[in-house]
């Protein structure tokens, strides 16, 4: 089938998937104890205003009805309001989600830059010392708690060496964020020509990105190494060797055949890290979407949680779609 038909079909499927996810999270979130009206107005509010607010928020309706109301609001772009920030959730997320995205994107990039070459080297020279070190590295970093590694980095580079900025958010206190185009401070400051903001945003990114990158390089390394190694042992690789093909060619072909698996792990990691970078966000007071959601859960502030789940689900599904499209481009067997 043509590529457009495929994309169209996938997009259509995304919709029910998202509704399913929102439904499940809605049900889950509704079981969290805590009366939203009381939380919003405070413990000293009088009963009439509480009752009025409850009516307005639809809290007296049945759960399915509440869900329906939520969906209706959703279609209008209203994701509810957070009682902690007193602002619409959509607005909160539009500033926070890019923060998480920036952090996670650079973190993943770092992880790829570390993990991919290590994996390739290990697959090509499985008995070398580098392969052994890489193996140990991936096992070791996979055992580290990300929040703890972040603390170690802070201690070494900020407390001891003083080369890193204080872990208090994305920019220094004195610097204003650049005008928002993408939400990425690094990119936006470049667009605005704001050199100070650029330097500040980069320096604040270093430690959390390093923490994310070091730990998540492990899975990428493992997948690369095991897939490329498997390709080199496959029938067609050995046949190419029997035919006297030069090593470079055999290795290149093995790598190309490994791309789908490597892309898969990267895409899975990307989706995972959106919610999985939460602890790093908390340690560095990043102001990201994950942190927002966790604070929501801990404080019975439900709409931020729902909004975050929605955002991250949509993001993941799109990442998977793009990866599948790349598969199409690489593997001729799939278009049949």
């Amino acid at each position: 089938m043509s590529i457009f038909a495929y994309i169209g079909r996938r997009l259509l499927l995304i919709l029910p998937q998202i509704v399913g996810i929102v439904l499940v999270s809605f049900m889950l979130v509704k079981t969290i104890p805590g009366d939203p009206a009381v939380l919003m107005l405070g413990p000293t509010a009088n009963p009439e205003s509480l009752a009025a607010l409850r009516k307005e928020m639809g809290l007296n309706e049945s759960i399915p009805m509440q869900f329906w109301i939520y969906l209706k609001n959703l279609s209008k772009g209203d994701l509810g309001t957070s009682w902690q920030t007193t602002r619409p959730v959509l607005e909160d997320l539009l500033t926070r989600f890019p923060a998480t995205l920036e952090l996670v994107s650079f973190g993943l990039l770092t992880a790829i830059l570390i993990g991919l070459p290590l994996g390739l080297v290990s697959a090509f020279r499985p008995r070398s010392w580098l392969a052994r070190v890489a193996d140990f590295y991936s096992l070791a970093t996979g055992s580290l708690p990300d929040f703890w590694l972040a603390l170690v980095l802070i201690y070494v580079f900020y407390t001891l060496l003083g080369v890193a900025p204080a872990p208090l958010g994305r920019l220094d206190m004195a610097i204003l964020p650049p005008t928002q185009i993408t939400g990425f401070y690094t990119l936006d400051s470049l667009f605005a020509g704001d050199w100070e903001a650029f330097k500040a945003s980069v320096s604040h990114l270093v430690l959390p990105v390093l923490a994310l990158g070091l730990i998540n390089a492990g899975p990428i390394f493992k997948m690369t190494q095991s897939t490329v190694e498997r390709m080199l042992q496959s029938d067609f690789s050995r046949y190419e060797m029997l035919c006297g093909m030069p090593h470079g060619l055999v290795l290149r072909h093995a790598l190309r055949n490994s791309l789908p698996s490597i892309l898969t792990i990267i895409s899975v990691l990307y989706g995972f890290l959106i919610g999985g970078a939460v602890l790093i966000e908390i340690v560095f007071s990043w102001g990201g979407a994950g942190q927002y959601a966790v604070q929501g859960v801990l404080n019975s502030d439900l709409y931020p949680v729902l909004g975050f789940v929605l955002f991250s689900a949509i993001f993941s599904l799109f990442v998977y779609l793009i990866v599948d499209l790349i598969y199409f481009a690489i593997d001729p067997r799939l278009s049949h």
Binding site: Q233, M241, C243, G244, M245, H253, I330, R333, H336
Partner: protein, 338 residues
């Protein structure tokens, strides 16, 4: 007169040097405990240029191990622990790896039995053939593509131009086999190994492929080692036939001699299995399937299955002896023609 034959005299003296000469080849597979399993034990044979030597053996005899060991790439985790492979006067095993690689595919090539599994799934078959030509013949891409097309035409693939852009999974078994043959012959190698290349194909396709290979080999005057499980095929196809069992050669003879005067009990059993003579078949039926027993380390490796085995067979390992001119047998009690 039986004479113990040294390895150089396996084949009666000829004025032409053999294209391929295998001497005392030994291939072992390590095991967790104890001694390694010996897949190929001191194998030796010669093949003259322009001739086809058939190699017959059942599954497990070590045929694929042999095929790949000749190219010095035994299947993992096997290792060649002894022996020489002389090709046109050079011992392949002693060459530096880079030179070995050059010869593989260009001077010696192999046709494999599961083509769709062994072709690269992500690259068109035309590109794979062309790359082979490009790498070994050092011609440019355009010339290589032209040559690939030429080869596809030679192997009589229908609609060769379109097939150049096909992928392995799009081809039927017979077509994929033709592609592999084209690939193996594109550099006009002087020696071709066909490892069970026609098994799994329909009988009619099989016949076509066999004829094709024979014609192409003749045209290029290559020597061929034709490995198969089916002794019957060799009758139409090979000049000489060797019979292999459990990693050893049991008998080598010219085609006529082997079929008219088989001497090793195993050979006779192979022939008898197809015979119309019921008495012959029952006479030569193998004893019950206890062949999963470990290969005995002393005596003849066929002794446990041999209907003619006697006590000496379990004790003393028979040597390869020339019973008649050009006909060698490894047996204490070769079958005499009745």
């Amino acid at each position: 007169m039986n004479a113990i034959v040294s390895s150089e005299m396996l084949v009666p003296a000829q004025s032409v040097a053999p294209a391929l000469s295998v001497r005392d080849l030994r291939v072992e597979f390590p095991t967790a405990m104890g001694a390694p399993t010996v897949a190929i034990k001191n194998l030796s044979f010669d093949i003259e240029p322009g001739t086809i030597l058939g190699l017959v053996g059942e599954s497990g005899a070590g045929k694929t191990t042999l095929a790949r060991s000749i190219l010095n790439l035994p299947p993992m985790p096997g290792r060649i622990t002894n022996g020489e492979v002389w090709f046109e006067g050079t011992d392949l095993r002693r060459l530096p790896e880079e030179e070995q690689r050059e010869r593989r595919g260009r001077d010696l090539s192999i046709v494999v039995p599961n083509p769709r599994g062994e072709l690269n799934p992500l690259i068109t078959v035309g590109d794979q053939i062309a790359t082979r030509a490009q790498v070994h013949l050092r011609i440019d891409k355009k010339a290589a593509q032209a040559r690939a097309l030429e080869m596809l035409q030679k192997v009589q693939i229908p609609d060769p131009k379109r097939r150049m852009n096909a992928y392995a999974h799009e081809l039927s078994g017979g077509m994929a086999q033709r592609v592999v043959i084209a690939m193996s012959l594109v550099c006009s190698p002087r020696f071709v190994i066909s490892d069970d290349a026609t098994s799994g194909l329909d009988v009619t396709v099989q016949a076509q492929i066999l004829k094709l290979m024979r014609d192409l080999a003749f045209e290029q005057q290559s020597a061929m080692l034709f490995i198969t499980r089916d002794v019957g095929i060799t009758a139409h196809f090979c000049d000489r036939v060797a019979v292999m069992y459990s990693g050893e050669i049991m008998e080598i003879a010219s085609r006529e001699d082997l079929f008219l005067d088989p001497q090793h009990p195993y050979t006779v059993m192979l022939m008898a299995a197809f015979s119309h003579n019921a008495k012959l078949r029952s006479q030569w039926r193998a004893p019950d399937e206890s062949r999963e027993n470990a290969t005995p380390s002393v005596g003849c490796s066929y002794a446990s299955r041999c209907p003619k085995a006697q006590s000496i067979c379990h004790v003393e390992h028979p040597e390869l002896l020339e019973r008649r001119p050009g006909h060698v047998v490894r047996c204490h009690f070769p079958v005499e023609r009745t």
